[in-house]
């Protein structure tokens, strides 16, 4: 079995199995946990609406922090949009999903996706360097932060190398490395901070409700 055969076959299959099991295990487990009851009387009504509002209000940049976090906020937005576009709308990725699920959707032209992917990769690198050089960010960062960024970075790097056929390695080796980097991301995803994909909105909801109970608009 060649490296590519292994990457396209067992590696990706088992990585996807671990990903799905891990994501559902943690999601269902968290949902079933008991919630703490508030010890004081609610100061306001309409808790659910306040929670939903907080879920989405945090997508916008608060004016008061605009100068301080504007750069990171903007880069975060562009990075996430770029990631989604590259993952779900690059032609060969659409083919991959069609191979798994049996259906597909329209893809974006390469001329659009490739620059988007390049910008996305660049932003991730900037954010990684910033995390390593900014004293405050460095202080609050741990292994999980760095490893999650690097594991997310690898599929972009190997993907670009594969598409452009960099002459350093044979195409099949590059393609295998790309698949393996995706497999690593899938395995790492449920058990790292990347799991925020699932927890970010419920967390905001709970935060919004808690604040609202205390009469604070968040």
């Amino acid at each position: 079995m060649s490296l590519l055969d292994f990457a396209r076959g067992p590696a990706l299959q088992w990585a996807a199995v671990i990903f799905v099991i891990g994501m559902l295990w943690r999601t269902v487990g968290l949902l079933l946990m008991l919630r703490s009851r508030p010890l004081s009387k609610d100061r306001k009504s309409g808790l659910a609406g306040a929670g939903v509002k907080t879920m989405f209000s945090r997508f916008l940049l608060p004016k008061v922090f605009a100068k301080r976090v504007g750069f990171q906020f903007l880069l975060g937005w562009v990075w996430h949009v770029g990631f989604v576009l590259t993952l779900f709308f690059f032609q060969v990725h659409v083919l991959f999903f069609k191979g798994v699920f049996g259906f597909s959707w329209p893809a974006l032209p390469n001329a659009v996706v490739l620059p988007v992917a390049a910008v996305t990769l660049g932003i991730l690198l900037i954010l990684l360097v910033r995390r390593m050089t900014n004293p405050m960010l460095r202080y609050i960062s741990n292994f999980n932060d760095y490893s999650s960024v690097i594991v997310t970075l690898l599929p972009f790097v190997t993907g670009f190398a594969t598409f452009t056929h960099i002459p350093a390695l044979a195409y099949e080796t590059l393609l295998a490395l790309h698949f393996l980097s995706v497999a690593l991301l899938l395995v790492w995803f449920p058990f790292s901070k990347l799991f925020h994909v699932i927890t970010v909105l419920p967390s905001r909801y709970i935060l919004g409700v808690k604040f609202w109970r205390r009469g604070v608009e968040a």
């Binding site: 060649s2 076959g9 079933l32 946990m33 991959f96 798994v100 699920f101």
Partner: protein, 370 residues
């Protein structure tokens, strides 16, 4: 079978091949082997002076497609002349002799040319029940070992003898193996392909005749000059790949416009062969030019590397069923974890409040701080 009294040059003259045509062949061979043009006269001189070397062609688990490919090259071609001018002392399909006479011809050729003859093999070698494939009551593996022992080199013709090919495909009922799995102490050249390109076979022979050595080989023992680049890099449809213009089916607008066949499962990017350069049928075309993706037939295990019609960017094992099964397991594990967590939460809540007691590490830290 004729014997070998005349040189190749004399034989060609006798057959009416002009000096100009012969030199053109030598120049073409030099070009195919990526040798400098100055080497053409040397090839010509070497080939002209060559006495016909003895060649023994062994056919095992094969379909005769490789022989068909070689013999059906443009006729009469200078390549076929070269082929005729080697002393092909044993070949099941092409020899006139049969039965014991055929086997006797092989024995004589081996005895007279011990240590100097070439062995060409097409077909894989069964290692399971020897009855799967025998010749004159002898198993293929015994024949190969015995004949290869006195050979100067072994050339595996086609993917079956090079890598096992279709007989080797899962579940490999005959226990098929390649020549290199059996012969360990002789130089081996693999010329894979299903079948290989005729010019590649004759050029490797010409190289051996002209220089007395085998051409530079890659990590799979394939001649670098023919297998050094993948088909994708030399494909005339490559610009469409770069632009992301793909045929979605074999009869859609993209297919009619000659767009890239990647989405239809073309294995050109991972297949190393000279099809896109040398082409077939006197340079007429090659599979991609005829509208079908490359199957990757010159690569090991090409038969088991997923569907011919699945793009390379897809997984060969992952499917919706696997995802659904993993999802069900994930929900079950999550539910169990959730129930366990609830029980623990309840236990903690119902337990009477205890005074905080520091751990050993915390106590030590506190002592040190004081």
């Amino acid at each position: 079978m004729t014997r070998k009294e005349l040189t190749l040059g004399e034989r060609m003259q006798a057959r009416g091949v002009s000096r100009r045509a012969f030199l053109r062949y030598c120049a073409t061979t030099a070009s195919l082997l990526a040798l400098p043009p100055a080497m053409a006269p040397r090839i010509a001189a070497a080939l002209e002076a060559q006495r016909r070397p003895s060649v023994i062609w062994l056919s095992f688990q094969e379909c005769t497609g490789c022989t068909e490919s070689l013999t059906r090259s443009a006729s009469p071609s200078i390549e076929s002349m070269i082929f005729e001018t080697i002393s092909l002392d044993y070949h099941h399909t092409l020899q006139a002799a049969a039965g014991h006479q055929a086997e006797e011809a092989r024995e004589i050729a081996m005895k007279e040319n011990w240590g100097n003859y070439l062995v060409l093999v097409d077909g894989s070698i069964p290692t399971g029940n020897m009855g799967y494939s025998t010749t004159a009551g002898e198993s293929n593996i015994e024949t190969l070992k015995r004949v290869a022992e006195g050979a100067a080199a072994v050339i595996s013709i086609g993917t079956c003898s090079s890598f096992g090919g279709i007989p080797y495909a899962n579940p490999n009922p005959t226990g098929a193996v390649s020549v290199s799995d059996v012969v360990k102490d002789k130089p081996i050249v693999n010329i894979p392909g299903c079948p290989p390109i005729p010019a590649v076979m004759t050029s490797v022979l010409a190289h051996y005749l002209a220089f007395g050595s085998l051409p530079e080989l890659d990590h799979l023992n394939r001649p670098m000059v023919f297998y050094g680049q993948n088909i994708h890099d030399r494909c005339y449809r490559r610009p469409f790949y770069e632009r992301g213009q793909f045929a979605e089916s074999f009869d859609d607008e993209g297919a009619k416009k000659g767009w890239c066949l990647y989405k239809l499962g073309c294995k050109g990017p991972t297949t190393y062969n000279a099809c896109a350069v040398l082409k077939w049928n006197e340079g007429t075309s090659f599979p991609i030019e005829s509208g079908h993706g490359c199957l990757g037939c010159s690569e090991p295990n090409f038969w088991d590397a997923g569907s011919f019609y699945s793009p390379l960017s897809t997984s060969t094992r992952l499917n919706a069923g696997t995802v659904a099964l993993a999802g069900a397991v994930g929900v079950g594990v999550g539910a169990a974890a959730g129930v366990a967590a609830r029980a623990r939460q309840k236990k903690i809540k119902s337990a009477p409040a205890k005074a905080w007691t520091p751990t050993k590490a915390e106590a030590k830290a506190e002592e040190e701080s004081q």
